[in-house]
């Protein structure tokens, strides 16, 4: 069952759920656009200006787009866990400190990425 469907089914029970559903929907839309923008030239529609010089990787505009990708990953991790069975989200582990001194899905994901 999709995450959207799960939220829709229980949206009336918790006022936070419509907010979460809206965030997932908005970030899914952004995700689709960024996946297309981040493709290796394989977009369905050819983009004009393909021969123009690339943006600087350190450009705040690029970094903001990158941040949106990261935020979407973080939200997806938490919301997917929230849709799983109760207790599916592990409690923080003291031996896996994150930036805030506790383990979180986002921190764990960053650690996994850094380990690759």
């Amino acid at each position: 069952m999709s995450i959207h469907r799960r939220f829709q089914e229980s949206a009336e029970q918790n006022p936070l759920l419509p907010l979460a559903l809206g965030l997932v929907s908005a970030l899914d839309t952004l995700d689709r656009h960024l996946a297309d923008a981040g493709g290796d030239g394989g977009a369905t529609t050819p983009h004009p200006g393909a021969s123009e010089p690339p943006l600087e990787p350190d450009d705040p505009f690029v970094l903001a787009a990158l941040g949106a990708v990261a935020l979407r990953r973080s939200l997806a991790t938490w919301l997917t866990a929230a849709c799983a069975t109760p207790g599916a989200v592990d409690a923080p582990h003291a031996d896996e400190p994150s930036d805030a001194g506790r383990s979180t899905p986002t921190a764990a994901r960053h650690r996994q990425d850094l380990a690759r």
Partner: protein
């Protein structure tokens, strides 16, 4: 796309939008004009999130792809026009994903009610301090 990074993601075909995209971007302009401080804070937070993500292997792959994307490059000009060149990088103390992490960390805690009480007590103390 062959990269495993993008596996499972839906693909889109860009066509002429049904509505007026300029009208939608005008509304975005109005939001930025009405709430410039909030807009700047949100943008700076996203940039900081991107910098942190770029420290990871997956983030570096995304950064490389986005930087050389013709579509994103072309999106730069309408974005600047829609946001009136008002946005710049800042130094937020907390990343957006940290807010998400904190919310769910509190939600998982067996001491949920005391944590909410601390949260509310904090704002009440600030109000009392500012308006003794």
């Amino acid at each position: 796309m062959s990269d495993a990074l993008l596996e499972g993601l839906p693909r889109i075909a860009l066509r002429t939008p049904a509505g007026d995209p300029v009208a939608v971007l005008r509304r975005l302009q109005h939001v930025f004009l009405a709430h410039p401080i909030a807009a700047q804070a949100a943008f700076a937070a996203l940039v900081a999130e991107g910098r942190r993500f770029a420290e990871t292997a997956a983030g570096q792959r995304w950064q490389h792809r986005l930087a050389r994307s013709p579509l994103l490059r072309r999106a730069r000009a309408p974005w600047d026009a829609a946001t009136l060149w008002l946005l710049e990088e800042g130094s937020p103390e907390v990343l957006p994903s940290s807010y998400v992490d904190a919310l769910f960390a509190v939600a998982q805690s067996p001491a949920l009610e005391p944590l909410i009480e601390r949260l509310m007590r904090g704002v009440l103390d600030e109000v009392a301090h500012e308006h003794p």
